[in-house]
Symmetry: C2
Subunit: 111 residues, 2 copies
């Protein structure tokens, strides 16, 4: 069911993977794992320059991986679990089922 059009949207997939291909951003995601955090909090914990953190938060936000919520002068970021679910689907589609692997076997191209 997921196979026919799976992976068609390569650019969306690359956007997600790219957003996660940076240690600072992954560390942010990890910190948000158990709930939302304000920027100052993340900055403290991760010990990164403010503008740098802001840059990475934007990458995550543009990819839809996090959401932000303004409250007074603070901004709270949280994981977007819909997008994380989307990621799981995409990642799952990359993995061939055992059956498919069995069907094609040694036979390949240029023989």
């Amino acid at each position: 069911m997921t196979t026919a059009t799976a992976g068609t949207d390569l650019s969306r997939a690359t956007q997600l993977f790219h957003a996660l291909s940076d240690e600072t951003r992954l560390a942010v995601v990890e910190m948000l794992h158990d709930g939302e955090r304000c920027v100052c909090d993340l900055q403290d914990a991760l010990d990164v320059a403010q503008s740098r953190l802001s840059f990475h938060l934007k990458v995550l936000k543009d990819a839809g991986l996090v959401t932000d919520r303004k409250e007074g002068r603070w901004v709270h970021y949280a994981l977007n679990s819909d997008t994380l679910a989307e990621l799981l689907t995409i990642a799952g589609d990359l993995k061939p089922s055992r059956r498919v692997l069995a069907v094609r076997g040694g036979r390949a191209c240029c023989d």
Copy 2:
């Protein structure tokens, strides 16, 4: 069980995500989805310069996402489903469980 040390290996995670953060490489992965292919075959189908494809195959191979098998003058590439399983685990660990979300709620930092 996966939680305590989950995500500790940020650099491995970034390597995997980075390897998948390119459309050409994702297209390769997609082509390998139903079995191994020789380079010439991939090159034909994807219509990319040979050295460029070789570069991208190396990125995928360095990340462990594909394996290569030399046969005469051809090299056949195939997905490494162990690594794809690893990817799924990593991606899964990014997504907080519903329970965790519920426990932490509005309360955050700087109040």
